[in-house]
Every structure is written in structure tokens, then in C-alpha cells.
């Protein structure tokens, strides 16, 4: 039986959390500006990104645990309520590749949450305010049109685009056709500009760090990484997307979209050789279950390879990463010949 009173309280609590989170996000967002970001040290960068992530996704622990429950049992790693994501900063202190990997992962998350919230605010606005020709209903129900409107708002509210008056006029003319004039823009302007600027800054950070980490990995030669082309379904359509995948030592397999043709070309010869076991993820952490910890501490590559041979491929791959195995060692776990120097 549904307890309407509880679920209503829950929804109200979530709404209050979101309002509170948004105030904090707006306070933090100027620091995400690339000029500020570039002068921070790696710990400060991570601190900022993790704080913004937590404010966007205050229920990240519950969400993460629910997602883990969908995985096979031995691979699941739950997180306790009191977990502090910022402990990661100490874990990776002095390890530049690990720091960059976390910066890429969490800046990507921050950008995407900014984008979801922008769409959410737009949807709420269209539902709340009526327009005589019912154009707002048409926009909500037409995903392509919704995308066009959303994109026009993105360009109008980008702080770095304000002097591009010709382009802004172009987008305002588009919006006017659908009943969004100056009055409506003033209302939308209370929430959307911060999100647009965060998206822009977080994506710049992600893209810059991606280029850096690829250079570091090419020099380091120890980690397994590369590109894969992955088919995704969005709005009922199949699309091919390029993913950068990295086995982040002690953490897990990380994958993010890449758009840069140059990076795609650079990585094109360097294909990631394993399946992407979990495309969707909420967190990248260095936690293990007691069982995983026992196996990893035994440091027995043959034992881990046996799990792979017995069909527990994802489990074996996860153990190898959590154990900090090199690319050659992970290859051996997957049935390769050379077990490296472990």
C-alpha cells in the first residue's frame, strides 16, 4: 500500500534539498571558471569538483547503492551512509594519473547534472506557465523541438556569449515563435544561466584534463586505456559514440564520451581491448568489499585469472584493477601469455 503522506514528504524533502543545493552550487560556480581552475593545485581542483558533485547529487550514496544492487553479487560494492567522498582527495594525493582520472570523471558528472537540471527547469517552466496557443504543450511533447529551445537558451544565457548580439538575436527570434519572449526569459534567467556557465566550465575542464591524461598515459605505459566506439540509444534512435576508457588503478573502469576529432584520431590506434562492463555509473571510488579485499591482498594473479577462466570475467577484471595491476597483468588475467613482473 502506498503511503501518500510519506511519499509527499519525501518529494518535498527532495525539493528542499535541491533548492538548498542550488544555492550552494551558485556560490561555488565562479571557482569553476577556467582561469580560476588553472591556478589551483590538484587537491583544490578535486575538492571543488567533488563538492559540486555532492551538491548536485545530494542522494548520491542511496543512488549509488541502488545501482550496485543491479550488478552481479560479487561485483557489488556498497557504500555506508557516513561515507565522505572527499576522502578520495587524500587517497590520490601525489598520484597525478589518479588525480586527473577523478577530475575527468567528476567534471563530466557535474557538466551532465548541470545539463539535466537545465532541462528540468525548462520543463517545469513550460508546465507551470501557459501560453494561449498551447505552444508550451507542443514543446514538452516534441523532443526535437524541446532540444532546439533548450539549445537556444544555452546560447542566450552563456555569460561568455553576451556580446555576440547577432547570435543572441537569432536565438531569441526562434524562442519568440514558440511564445518565449523577454518576460519568459526573465523568469528562466533566474535559474538557467548558472547551469549553462557550469556546463561550459565543467566541459572545458573535462576536455583539457582528457588531453593531459592521454599524454601522461602514453608516457607512463602502465595502464590499460584506449577508445571504443559504442552504440547508444537516445530518444529511440541508435547512435555511435566514441568513448575514452581507462582502468583507473585501485578504483575501477572509467568511461567518458570524447568529441575531439584529434583525440579520437590520436586514440584511434589505441583501442581499449576489453568490454565496458558498466556504462552507467554514479561514483568512482577505491572501496572494496571484504571478500574483494581478501583476494586482492593475497596478490595472486593466477587466482584472479582463474575467476576469468571460470566465466566471472567482470569480477576478475575488477579485482585486477582494484589490485593496481598494470596493463600487461590485466591482459594476462584475460588470458594473455605474459604475466608481467608481479
Amino acid at each position: 500500500m502506498i503511503n501518500y503522506s510519506d511519499s509527499r514528504l519525501d518529494a518535498e524533502r527532495k525539493k528542499e534539498d535541491k533548492i538548498r543545493g542550488f544555492k550552494e552550487i551558485k556560490k561555488l560556480s565562479p571557482n569553476l571558471d577556467l582561469e580560476n581552475y588553472l591556478i589551483m593545485d590538484e587537491s583544490e581542483k578535486l575538492d571543488l569538483l567533488l563538492e559540486m558533485f555532492k551538491q548536485f547529487k545530494s542522494d548520491y550514496i542511496d543512488n549509488y547503492n541502488k545501482m550496485e544492487e543491479k550488478k552481479s553479487e560479487r561485483v557489488q560494492i556498497s557504500i555506508p551512509r557516513g561515507y565522505d567522498l572527499k576522502d578520495l582527495i587524500k587517497s590520490v594525493d601525489g598520484e597525478i594519473i589518479l588525480q586527473k582520472a577523478l577530475e575527468i570523471y567528476y567534471s563530466n558528472k557535474v557538466a551532465h547534472y548541470a545539463e539535466y537540471w537545465q532541462k528540468d527547469f525548462l520543463r517545469q517552466f513550460l508546465k507551470k506557465y501557459q501560453n494561449p496557443e498551447n505552444l508550451f504543450d507542443i514543446i514538452i511533447n516534441d523532443s526535437r523541438l524541446f532540444g532546439i529551445i533548450n539549445n537556444s537558451l544555452f546560447r542566450i544565457f552563456d555569460e561568455y556569449n553576451q556580446d555576440n548580439t547577432r547570435e543572441i538575436k537569432y536565438h531569441k527570434d526562434i524562442l519568440k515563435r514558440y511564445g518565449i519572449g523577454e518576460r519568459e526569459l526573465r523568469i528562466l534567467g533566474k535559474s538557467i544561466p548558472s547551469l549553462v556557465n557550469i556546463y561550459r566550465d565543467a566541459m572545458c575542464i573535462k576536455d583539457a584534463e582528457l588531453h593531459e591524461i592521454v599524454s601522461l598515459l602514453e608516457e607512463d605505459k602502465l595502464s590499460s586505456y584506449g577508445m571504443i566506439t559504442h552504440t547508444e540509444v537516445e530518444s529511440g534512435k541508435e547512435k555511435e559514440r566514441n568513448l575514452f576508457v581507462l582502468d583507473v588503478p585501485f578504483f575501477g573502469q572509467m568511461s567518458v564520451h570524447i568529441k575531439s576529432p584529434e583525440l579520437i584520431s590520436q586514440l584511434g590506434k589505441h583501442k581499449y581491448p576489453y568490454p565496458v562492463y558498466q556504462r552507467e555509473s554514479i561514483l568512482l571510488t577505491d572501496r572494496l568489499t571484504p571478500e574483494q579485499e581478501r583476494i586482492v591482498k593475497r596478490n595472486d594473479i593466477e587466482e584472479i585469472r582463474k575467476y576469468f577462466e571460470e566465466g566471472e570475467e567482470e569480477f576478475a577484471h575488477l579485482l585486477a584493477i582494484k589490485g593496481g595491476y598494470t596493463a600487461d597483468e590485466i591482459k594476462y588475467v584475460h588470458g594473455g601469455d605474459n604475466k608481467g613482473e608481479r
Binding site: L34, R144, V196, M203, E232, E234, K237, K259
Partner: protein
Amino acid sequence: MELKNLESLYKNKKLKEKLEQIQILIDDNKNKEAYFKLAAILEYINVKLLTKKLGEKLLNYNIEEIIKKYYNKDEFLFKKMQSVNGMYNFVSGKEINVQDVVSLGITIDYIYEYMIEKYGEFI
């Protein structure tokens, strides 16, 4: 969309030739190809400006490198290219439509107009 309206770009003979090829793509509704060819023009004018007028050597010709090069050199271009990077990411993975092409075209024209006014001809 008429690329002739991108007046600053159209005044340059070399860029005009490139735009004429892109116009054919737009007329054929090949929006994605037109978008990427416009992006290539933006990369081209940035690389030319950085190497010819700002004395920079570029190891890579990607937008991330271009943004870094403008840091402490030209604040307008530093911010404009970040805005363009945001635009690229926002459309990445989505269907590119004619509004995206127009948006990018106008932005590139605006950037090029600024470059010419501040630095003089460089292409």
C-alpha cells in the same frame, strides 16, 4: 541559411571559397557535415592567428590547446573559445540541425571580425 550573411568571413577570398563549399552542403540538408566544416574553419583561423600574429608554436591543433594558448594573451578569445567548446559539447551526440549550423556560423564570423579589427589581416 545564406553564408553570404557572414560578412567578415566572406570578405576573405580563401575563406569565401571554403564557405561556398559549405553552402552546397547546407542547401543539401547535410547539416552535420556543414557544421564540422565550419568548425574546421574556426580551427584554421585560430591556428593562423596564433602562429602568424601571436608567435605561438602549436603541438596540437585542437580546441583545448587553442584555449590554453589564449590564456593571458587575449581574454576575449580565451572566453569565446570556451563558449564554443561548450557549444560543441552541447550538440555532441545529438542530431545537428540547421539552427546549430547558423549559430556556429554567426559565432565564427563574430570571432573573425574581432581578430581582424585587433590584429589586422592574417590569412
